[in-house]
Symmetry: C2
Subunit: 224 residues, 2 copies
């Protein structure tokens, strides 16, 4: 019997690298998918390719899409500044419908590959309050996936696997250390420079820094 | 009070042109969205732009995406032939997760625009049996849209408007004639030539031809 295939969304960041390691430990044949969506931190795409290669993905696809054309987010609009601290409300780094778009592409590819499992590194604990990181969103997409596809019509259920959903950042990091991930190769910063060095002050950097601290693990991030 | 905005998915074909006319009659300010997704019939994108302009859309965006990179469909894979007659099963012109991807982008744009309504020309009567043209799929996406967005969190419900869902092709054409659509400017053929002339034999041509016949309206389609 051959191992099952999975599509794994890989951004180049800490969370999705951990998800890829988890999928590999579960013996999935992993096809990784990244998006160039006009984000400021495009250096993360190089990290995504490297992580995919090092961690045993059989294939890595990078898709260029045009979310930036819609505007409305500090991650894709050069005229908006990335904030340095959370305001309590949903931050302007939210990209409208981003995870819906990403999962839709993953679903299309999963159907072509004959994969039932789609892995995504969303997290509803140490996160920025984005709506498309909540358990109810994941459930709703899983329901949609069955109705949206020929595979679903034929009785194949898709699983949206979000193994980090209920973990704190520190728990994610401890799991990744157990799995042997070299987190120095991952980039989480919303405004990393072209060499992949992190700013240390954006939301994403702050959650990550605190996570290493809480996990009692030296932070291998390269800051500028 | 200003009129509400809507995002209208426009392919360049007969169905979505009719949907745009319906949305305009309902006095929506229409922002139209088309996709270059590696389809064979790219001339339909010129038709989409022209239809948007003639029918009073305030803005037309064309997004290039990479569905063809996944393979698996005769509409995007040059090595697969477009079939000339239905086999009963779902045809190989099905593009995996296409409407899910299209609606995801429309949702992102709607959120940025502050629009609540997304119009799509899917039809579950005279169609090819694609799973993502069914009422249950539309309902599931509407549910997802609420959970996926900040707008949804704040209590804004999105409506996925599919006014053709339960109409026959002849009924769609009669509605379009009433609204003054010039269907000679629309392209439905899966393999139209570079001048927009239709093959007359693919699934999409056959449904369209039969529709004009059943509606008792002269078929303005240019065939090659």
């Amino acid at each position: 019997m051959t191992a099952p295939k999975a599509v794994v969304l890989v951004s180049g960041g800490l969370d999705s690298a951990t998800v890829l390691a988890i999928a590999r430990e579960q013996e999935f044949i992993c096809h990784t998918l990244s998006f160039n969506y006009g984000q400021r931190h495009r250096v993360e795409l190089q990290a995504a390719a490297e992580i995919s290669r090092r961690m045993g993905a059989v294939e890595h696809k990078r898709i260029t899409i045009d979310l930036g054309g819609f505007g409305g987010s500090a991650l894709t609009d050069p005229s908006m500044a990335v904030p340095e601290a959370s305001s309590g409300a949903i931050p302007i780094t939210y990209v409208p419908a981003r995870n819906t778009v990403f999962l839709s592409f993953a679903l299309g590819w999963a159907e072509v590959l004959g994969a039932q499992d789609i892995f995504i590194g969303v997290n509803a604990v140490d996160y920025s309050g984005y709506p498309d990181c909540r358990p109810a969103f994941i459930k709703a997409f899983e329901h949609l996936a069955k109705l949206a596809t020929c595979a679903g019509l034929e009785g194949r259920a898709f699983r949206i696997q979000a193994p980090l959903l209920h973990l704190s950042k520190a728990e994610i990091i401890r799991e990744g250390m157990r799995l042997g991930i070299d987190y120095s190769r991952t980039i989480s910063c919303y405004q990393a420079d072209e060499n992949g060095r992190a700013c240390g002050v954006c939301d994403s950097c702050r959650f990550r820094k605190q996570g290493f601290w809480d996990a009692g693990v030296p932070d291998p991030t390269r800051y500028h």
